[in-house]
């Protein structure tokens, strides 16, 4: 069965430091992988996706993620966190054309 795990409910990081939000997945076949961000009382904003090609994907707002097939991971990273990055982050996986399964979300707090 398809599943997505975000092992950390919350990540705390100081402004200017690098951040990582972890995601692992379980799916048979070649996955499409996504990261979304959600600010309070707002919709889902697309950050980046991996479909095929380069394992390192660059997305919006300076975020990037690396697809690691052997570790079935797709961790979200940013070299230098901003206070405005504080939000709820969702990892998601699909097999293309089928439903997307979302992780439970990781709340990121960036402290000034």
């Amino acid at each position: 069965a398809q599943s997505v795990a975000q092992p950390e409910d919350q990540v705390n990081v100081a402004e200017g430091n690098p951040l990582t939000v972890k995601c692992t997945y379980s799916v048979s076949g070649n996955p499409y992988l996504f990261w979304y961000v959600q600010y309070p009382n707002r919709g889902l904003q697309f950050l980046l996706k991996y479909i095929t090609g380069d394992n390192l994907v660059k997305g919006s707002y300076g975020f990037e993620a690396e697809f690691n097939k052997s570790q079935t991971s797709f961790h979200l990273k940013k070299p230098s966190a901003l206070v405005s990055d504080s939000a709820l982050y969702f990892c998601a996986v699909s097999l293309g054309g089928f439903k997307t399964i979302f992780g439970a979300g990781t709340r990121l707090f960036v402290k000034a």
């Binding site: 499409y32 996504f34 979304y36 009382n41 707002r42 919709g43 889902l44 697309f46 996706k49 479909i51 969702f90 998601a92 699909s94 293309g96 054309g97 089928f98 439903k99 997307t100 399964i101 979302f102 992780g103 439970a104 979300g105």
Partner: protein, 109 residues
């Protein structure tokens, strides 16, 4: 960049009433989806729609729910006889790569 548009942004309805949530997917996309997010919880798949019919649905998507493409452009989610627990954000998405709309917040009172 093309967007998925959802209306209304917020809908308040009385328990037992019917609501229709509307979505305009990106043109030329073939796959359409509805998801919901109860406040503070994870995003849950409801239904996928391809070639003018439901291709997959979750256990949440019971007889209370239905989807349509009434005019080949709009993609609607109808909830008959709403319940308090239907209060949530409802998101539409289109294409295999899931471009999401900004959602409709449904509040059932």
């Amino acid at each position: 960049e093309p967007e998925v548009t959802q209306t209304p942004s917020h809908q308040v309805t009385q328990m037992g009433q019917e609501v229709i949530l509307r979505c305009v997917p990106i043109s030329n996309h073939l796959y359409f989806y509805w998801y919901r997010q109860i406040l503070g919880q994870k995003v849950e798949f409801l239904v996928s729609f391809y070639n003018n019919e439901i291709s997959e649905k979750s256990e949440i998507f019971d007889d209370q729910f239905s989807v349509e493409r009434p005019d080949g452009s709009n993609f609607t989610l109808k909830i008959r006889s709403t319940k308090l627990e239907d209060s949530a954000m409802y998101f539409c998405a289109s294409s295999e790569t899931h471009t999401f709309g900004s959602g409709t917040r449904l509040t059932v009172v």
